[in-house]
Amino acid sequence: MPRFRAHIRETVFSYVQQHSHRYFSERFAGKIANKLSDLPNSAERIVEIICVNCIPILFTMILAVTLLWNANPKFAAIMLVWFFLHMGALFAFAPYCNRLFADHADAISTLNGKVVDCFSNIMNVRLFARIKFEKEYFATYQNDEIKKARKALLYLELMRVIQGLSGLFLIFMMLITLIKGWQQGWVTIGDFSLIAILSFNVLGMIWWLSFQIMQLFKEVGTLKAALSLVVKPLDIIDTEGAQPLVVTKGEIKFDNVGFYYRKQNRLFENKSVIIEAGEKVGLVGFSGAGKSTFVNLILRFYDVDQGAILIDGQNIKNVTLDSLYENIAMIPQDTSLFHRTLMENIRYGRTNATDEEVIAAAKLAHCHEFITKLPEAYSALVGERGVKLSTGQRQRIAIARAILKNAPILILDEATASLDSVTEQLIQESLEKLMQNKTTIIIAHRLSTLAHMDRILVFENGHVVESGTQAQLLSQDGHFAKLWKMQAGGFLPG
């Protein structure tokens, strides 16, 4: 059984990790984690109840009825009629009870999701002095959970009362018939003891069985709720016969691409863009213009609705996801780290890298300086999502990881935006080295960071409205020049 439970946990854990970016962005991580823990526990309880309670108790019931039949068929008939009425009533009421417990399980998961969401944003709670507000916000969900728990438990107790009365009825029926049989001479003392003991035994077992069946329905409800959240079809998966991506040059081509997040809200339509092998391209535009979507589509976080994205002539839909990610290094705007050591976090870029290689990458990314100042140096734990480090430090770890990965395609999403000018200057040199001979896409709000780009694509409402070097775009006096002028301190507004 421990292996059985572990097998479920491992399989479902791996399965959930294959869900798309969209799946995770639409759900609470806490709720998913909660359901993930519900699945093995409920499955184990269901199997236990069936194997250890239902089947043996039903078997005892069959033996008891046979023995009663041998003593006198009247007693067997009473027992059978009572059993079917008792179980019939149980099965009639149980589905509603099941629904109540499923609602309650869902309320608990939502509550846990809210707790995790609050703790993930604890800085916001503190900075806005919203501890009281969060308490009240939490209380809304807590009250809902209490209400649902009360409703389910009240109904369960009501069912138990009915079961108790039903058991009392059986004992009375048996004893009255026994006394009558004794008076009329068709019941011996031996039969009396057999039937009395069997009746009490069976009653106890059926009472236990009823309780276990209620538990069974409860667990089935919990399992159903967990399955409906966790076991969704995977929307982004390897297609049949998918081949590993082979990047020889690093050319990226958007071929007549159409994409929308929601129907009637088309972001890209017939988009065709070619990023040459080894080219360094900057993406510029206001928030919501389509820069991040452009990158997310290359990473296949979403599938295109029309056309294709090709890397060195291979449609990314027809290559394995693992090989796609192996060939792309991404440094996001807000890097999140595992609550593991710094050494492990950097080594995540290439798990077979030696300590020396990790340290060399850290030196290039200028994080070796602050790591060696920590008491535990590379063995220091970074806290959940890396909270013990500053944003700039986390960003440098992400750069070290990308250096170690050494993928032929590099994507930087505002990678240096959270760094101070001195560090940015230092890292810029590392990034220059990292970008050599790699196809690089940089999303930037700080337009000055794009000075060395081979080309800048200016986005507006999902369309590339301008394309050229910084100098060319400025001389055109178009959209980019307008953005340039709007900048105060080097940043684009919102």
Binding site: M1, P2, R3, F4, H7, I8, T11, V12, Y15, A43, I46, V47, E48, I49, C51, V52, N53, I55, P56, I57, F59, T60, L63, A64, L67, A71, T188, I189, G190, D191, S193, L194, I197, L198, N201, G204, M205, W208, L209, V220, L223, K224, L227, S228, V231, P233, L234
Partner: protein, 100 residues
């Protein structure tokens, strides 16, 4: 994709361990049998006693057979429950779910 209905999901994971589960069911049937037979042994003893009509000297001789049966089936039940507990909990806990 993983099975998404309760029965198919459980069967998907039970299947590799099905022989263990069959063993658990088999062991459960031992104590289930004992639960029913215990009443029969008592009836057996009572029937023997009433058949004596006061001949107390023959009691021990007549009662020994059902008592041996009670002893054997009780011992078997206890062993079955311990083995079942080991299989269900990996040997680290008592059987907590079986009918008490």
């Amino acid at each position: 994709m993983l099975p998404y209905t309760v029965t198919s999901f459980i069967w998907y994971f039970v299947k590799p361990y099905r022989y263990w589960f069959f063993a658990v069911i088999g062991l459960s049937l031992i104590w289930a049998t004992n639960e029913a037979l215990f009443a029969y042994y008592i009836k057996w003893i009572v029937d023997e006693l009433t058949a004596l009509h006061g001949n107390k000297g023959a009691i021990s001789l007549l009662a020994i057979k059902p008592l041996v049966f009670i002893f054997v089936s009780w011992t078997l039940m206890d062993i079955a429950m311990r083995v079942q507990g080991f299989v269900m909990r990996g040997g680290d806990a008592e059987v907590s779910c079986a009918y008490p």
